[in-house]
Amino acid sequence: MRKPLALAATWLAALLLAMPAVAQAPPRKPSPRGAQVYFHYPLDGLRVPERFTVRMGLKEMGVAPAGIERPLTGHHHLLIDVDAPPSDQPIPSDYNHIHLGNGQTEVVVTLPKGPHTLQLLLGDSTHTPHNPPVISKKITVYVR
């Protein structure tokens, strides 16, 4: 009984969060129904070495390098140890927001020992998330 309630709550929260973004949105590229970005590797809760390759998958959409405007495409961003940035602005570019601007679908990262969070967020030709944003679950890995 509890689960559906919690689910509904998160949906509501997501909707509420998405609403203002939509309201003040400059032209954001639409994402198709069922579009999804996800991790091939690592998976949530995995123990990983300090240097490892993050591999990502994308459902119902295509990959295009940054700056290339094509419908239903985007490029990957890997968010490390941060919360997702606001989805109506370009994704920042720093150590915590790794841009895969050449259309890469995997990236080697080196992280210090300890727990870290990883999340994938697709950006369009201008690095802005789609509408609705194509974002993965935030996963935690343990670097040993």
């Binding site: 998958g57 094509r70 050449n102 259309g103 679908t105 995997e106």
Partner: protein
């Protein structure tokens, strides 16, 4: 009663061995890392008394422990050592490092070794960050392999009767500079990278200043026999001034010439230092007029299947997922260095690599930059292959392509038993 006595004897023996070891350890004290009782080390796909070629790939499997590079401390972790033709070394000291004790300190789990003909012993031994075996030692059984006389005579692949290879823009008696681009052409046969078996396909070998090698075995690989195992169609050749001979010879997936051999005429070229102007006119024309140039790809780029893997059983309707290393994905039509888009080849041989990949039911273009594709296949065996291609759908040079894998489509798949 008998069993008890045996147990007793064993106990005494282990006590003795233990005391012997400990007395040894006192001389050169080395801390040994503990290992779990269920740790197991073994060779993959290599049986005792197997007959093997002189050059073979040995793969290691360890369970119950983790592979980490040497120098990395960790509980129940270590790296592999391969013992060749030797007894176990002292277990309380670092494993020696020589031809008989190969270290895999970067955490490798396979290696290629060359053995002379004859009988050899192989054994795996796991060791901790200081190369000292664990306590109890984690090691494989000692196996023996029989290396047959090399080079082995190999089955030759058939070539189509009209197949030929030739030099492009390079005639017999031509004069070329010391550093020249040599281009190769093929006709009536497909260019396939080494290692990929294919009917009527092969890759180039350039023979420099040498006679034809024996045609029933692997073409040697040295300065006189240059392999183009990735399907390259040109090379930059550096030759000292003087007379030289050049010949092209196509080899199959195992570098063995075809039957009949597909080879060019042996041509003579005169190499002169490029400074003299008189030779410019006869130099092979520059790259400008080559037909529909192929886009270069980095040498370490690779495309591979994330799912499924070779030999796997899949559902009739499955999502095939692609991985790409050291390059990026871009939709068709986008010109950007080091990018391309995926092509999934289903139940078809590798297409020619110097023209656009055909578009039909067997050659699925992922022109939108997709990195996965759901396909439906009838039950049975099917082959899948990935090829990256540039904005014009032409494979890169060298081609970025996966192995041709085989999958079995089954209507019912046994779910792997859940671990309790």
């Amino acid at each position: 009663m008998k069993r008890v006595r045996l147990g007793l004897v064993l106990g005494v023996l282990t006590c003795l061995a233990g005391s012997a070891l400990s007395s040894f350890a006192q001389e050169r004290p080395r801390q040994r890392s503990p290992s779990p009782a269920d740790a197991k080390l073994s060779f993959v796909g290599l049986a005792n008394n197997a007959r093997v070629p002189s050059k073979l790939t040995v793969r290691f499997a360890v369970s119950g422990m983790e592979v980490v590079p040497a120098g990395t401390a960790g509980r129940n972790a270590g790296h592999h050592h391969l013992l060749i033709d030797t007894e176990l070394p002292a277990l309380n000291q670092p494993i020696p490092s020589d031809f008989n004790h190969l270290h895999f300190g970067s955490g490798q789990t396979e290696t290629e070794i060359s053995l002379p003909p004859g009988r050899h012993s192989l054994q795996l031994l796991f060791a901790d960050q200081d190369h000292v075996p664990h306590d109890p030692p984690v090691m494989s059984e000692k196996i023996f392999v029989e290396v047959v006389d090399a080079p082995e005579e190999k089955a030759r692949s058939a070539a189509a009767p009209g197949a030929k290879v030739f030099f492009l823009d390079l005639q017999d008696g031509a004069t070329i500079p010391t550093r020249a681009i040599i281009r190769f052409g093929v006709e009536g046969i497909a260019l396939i990278p080494a290692g990929t078996k294919n009917e009527n396909g092969g890759h180039h070998h350039l023979l420099v200043d040498t006679e034809l090698p024996p045609l029933d075995r692997e073409i040697p690989s040295d300065f006189n026999h240059i392999h183009f195992g990735r399907g390259q169609t040109e090379t930059e050749l550096n030759l000292p001034p003087g007379e030289h001979t050049l010949q092209l010879l196509l080899g199959d997936h195992e570098h063995v010439p075809h039957d009949p051999p597909v080879m060019s005429q042996r041509i003579k070229v005169r190499v002169v230092a490029a400074s003299s102007d008189t030779t410019r006119a006869v130099i092979a024309p520059p790259a400008a007029d080559k037909p529909a140039g192929r886009t270069p790809a980095p040498n370490d780029a690779a495309v591979y299947f994330v799912y499924p893997r070779n030999g796997e059983t899949i559902y009739p309707s499955s999502t095939i997922r692609f991985g790409l290393r050291n390059m990026g994905v871009a939709p068709a039509g986008v010109v950007k260095p080091n990018t391309g888009h995926h092509h999934l080849i289903v139940d078809a041989p590798t297409p020619p690599l110097d023209v656009a990949i055909p578009a039909d039911l067997n050659h699925i273009h992922l022109g939108g930059g997709q990195t996965e594709r759901r396909i439906t296949l009838p039950p049975g065996k099917h082959t899948l292959q990935l090829i990256l291609a540039d904005d014009q759908h032409i494979p890169h040079d060298p081609p970025v392509m996966s192995e041709r894998i085989e999958v079995i489509v089954a209507t019912r798949i046994k779910k792997p038993g859940r671990r309790r």
